[in-house]
Symmetry: C2
Subunit: 163 residues, 2 copies
C-alpha cells in the first residue's frame, strides 16, 4: 500500500513552498509541497502545511507558534533544493541561498517570493508521521508576475496554460 | 486582506480532484483544488481535503464517514466543470458526466482517474468557513501514464517538465 500510495501521489502536481520560522524555538526552514488554502473568511484567511514530526522545523514552529509559507517561483529551484537538504547544508545555514527579511511574526520571508503568507499557528494536528499546521494569515505578499515552481512525477515542472 | 490573499493563492498551482461520497448521508461530489498527502506511515497512508462547510458534499462526507479523492487527468476538465457547478447540474446529476463504480468504502470512483484514493474519514477539523477532512486510505488506484489537470491563475493548466 505504501509504495502504491507514493506512486499515486506522485501524479499530483504541487506548488513548492519553503516554510520558515524564527523565535525562541530557533530559526528553521524546510521545503514543503503540501501547502493549501483552507478558509478565506472570518476571522482571517487561513492555510495549512504538513510537516514531518521529526523535522527540526516542526519543533521550532510549535515553539514559535508562527511560520511563513514562501511560495517559490519557477526559477527558484535552488532554494527548494537547499531547504530539502539536497545541498548538504543544515539548520540556519540553509538560509544562505537567498535574501530574507523578517515578516510580522518574525518568520523569515524571501525578498522575492512568488507569494508569501506570514502566519500565526492556530491548529496543530498530529496524523501518523506528520503534523498539520493551520496558520491564520497575518500578512501577504504577492509578485505582480511569475509562475510557480511545481513538483510532479518526482521532478520539478512548470505550469503552462491549457488550450 | 481577503482579496490580497486570494490573489496570492491564485499563484499556487494545484492538482484538481473530484471528492465523492455515498452512503446513508447521500451521494455527493465536488471539485476541490485543496488535496494533499499527509502521512505515508502508520497505520495507513493519509491525505486531506478542504471543503466549504456549506457544500452539500460536506454534510454527506460527515455522515458517511468516507470519501474518495479522484485525481483528474489533464483531459478531464469537463468533469471538473461539472462538479464545480459550472454546467448547472446539481447533486447526483453531476455524476452523469463520466463513468463510475463503487470503491471499497462505497464512495464513487472514476473508471479512469489519473489516481484515486478511497478513504475512511479519521479527522474532521472546522477552520473558519471550511472543514479539513483527513482520510485514511483504504485503497489506491493509479494510471500508468498521464499528467494531472492543474488549476493556476484562475484557469486550467498542465505541468510540463523543467529543463
Amino acid at each position: 500500500m505504501k509504495s502504491e500510495f507514493l506512486q499515486a501521489m506522485s501524479k499530483a502536481a504541487n506548488s513548492v513552498c519553503v516554510v520558515t520560522t524564527d523565535g525562541i524555538g530557533g530559526k528553521a526552514g524546510m521545503t514543503v509541497s503540501a501547502m493549501t488554502s483552507v478558509s478565506v473568511d472570518t476571522p482571517r484567511p487561513s492555510l495549512l502545511v504538513c510537516i514531518h514530526g521529526q523535522a527540526s522545523a516542526c519543533d521550532a514552529i510549535r515553539t514559535n507558534r508562527a511560520f511563513c509559507a514562501n511560495l517559490l517561483a519557477e526559477d527558484q529551484a535552488a532554494i527548494s533544493d537547499s531547504f530539502a537538504g539536497r545541498t548538504g547544508k543544515k539548520g540556519a545555514e540553509r538560509f544562505d541561498c537567498a535574501s530574507w527579511h523578517a515578516a510580522v511574526t518574525g518568520s523569515p520571508v524571501l525578498d522575492n517570493p512568488l507569494a508569501a503568507f506570514d502566519c500565526t499557528l492556530v491548529h496543530d494536528i498530529l496524523v501518523g508521521s506528520h503534523r498539520i499546521f493551520v496558520g491564520e494569515v497575518e500578512a501577504v505578499r504577492v509578485a505582480e508576475t511569475g509562475a510557480p515552481l511545481i513538483y510532479f512525477d518526482r521532478q520539478y515542472a512548470r505550469a503552462t496554460p491549457q488550450g
